[in-house]
Symmetry: none
């Protein structure tokens, strides 16, 4: 028999996988999401290191964890260079500084987008804008809002500006800054944002760079004002 007791091994492996999943979900991991070493896990689960590695292979294939030789095993996604840069910047900048940077970048990006957008690009933008107003919860709306702005930057067709925008976006979405932005979001502000998004996209569709830049600037200034108000209320 090529596999003496393959079924039993299968069940043991999936049990280890389950215990690891529980360990990750339980939130008992340190701040950086680091898992115990493989050897320690093997001892804790009263099994061999090999089984632990197999289980970790599964979890890694699922994208639930990432590993690096000499470094360790971590829950979540591996950090890419942009996030590292963003993390450094977050320490030295405040939400208003981010809005300032957006005000520098995004109007010009919108203008370029207006120059270059094809009909299908405009359709994509409209679809995204429509999605923003669907969800009730602020977090999902933020997600689609980010997607809209990012798509505008992508359509603008300048790789450098897209990277710069991505940097700002990364800083913007950094955990810890969600609270003031969530506070700043109300039903009223959402409605205003929707109208402003529509105005931006209209200008882009009309291939009107100046109008697109102006509409984007107005939108960002509105957001900045709301954010400033929120920060003022807070502290």
């Amino acid at each position: 028999m090529p596999e003496p007791d393959g079924a039993a091994q299968e069940t043991e492996l999936s049990e280890v996988v389950g215990r690891l999943r529980h360990l990750i979900d339980a939130g008992r991991l340190p701040e950086d999401g680091r898992l115990p070493p493989e050897r320690a896990l093997a001892a804790e689960f009263c099994t061999g290191r090999r089984q632990v590695r197999r289980a970790l292979d599964h979890l890694e294939a699922e994208g639930l964890i990432w590993r690096h030789q000499g470094k360790g095993t971590f829950a979540g996604q591996p950090p890419d260079p942009t996030t590292k840069m963003a993390a450094k910047i977050v320490a030295e900048v405040d939400p208003l500084g981010v809005m300032e940077a957006r005000l520098c970048l995004e109007p010009s990006i919108a203008a370029l987008c207006a120059e270059r957008a094809q009909a299908e690009d405009v359709a994509r933008l409209r679809a995204l804008a429509a999605r923003i107003k669907l969800p009730a919860d602020a977090e999902t709306a933020e997600l689609w809002d980010g997607a809209l702005h990012r798509t505008i930057a992508r359509v603008a067709g300048n790789r450098i500006l897209l990277t710069a925008f991505g940097l700002v976006d990364e800083v913007r979405h950094h955990p810890g800054w969600q609270a003031p932005r969530a506070r700043a979001r109300t039903a009223d502000s959402a409605r205003i944002s929707d109208r402003q998004h529509a105005a931006i996209i209209d200008a882009i569709a009309a291939h009107d760079p100046v109008g697109a830049a102006a509409a984007m600037r107005l939108h960002l200034e509105t957001l900045a004002a709301g954010l400033a108000q929120s920060l003022e209320d807070q502290g």
Copy 2:
């Protein structure tokens, strides 16, 4: 007399500055551009560490060197993590794309700079502008030109924008793109750039954001036109 021999000290300081400049320009530095420790420089120049530090202060204000406690003193620009990113971008972008990005970023940066520049900042900018027209060779002039634009970005006081600018600057200075820029530089274009630099700094000194942005935009458009011409001539 409040200053015993202030003049003599001045001359000694500027001599140290000159020797340091020569040391940097001579290209006898190691690959990473590291300068000898301050103590060693003091010994070599037969002076005190204080004078060396003052001289280095000048060079740092000019953006020619950067220092970090415990790390050392280096010629050139402090390495952002942008370097790796820039290498990726270089492959997917052309010189005109860089100019496009600069046209998006730098006018707004100049406006912010105009809002926030102190008298000493303006003085630094004027000193840099004066240095651009001194050297005969294009490469050194480019160096000082870069230092001027970077200082404007630094004075603007927004860390994110400074990083974004650094990204563009890194791409811009990537080897292989020097040739068309060198071809685009003539005695005429240098004189025009000088005047435009002066106009930018005047607007900044006058705390005129709109004027600074307009002057910067004009300057970059002039550069872009020259670059486009150069590329066209090339083929």
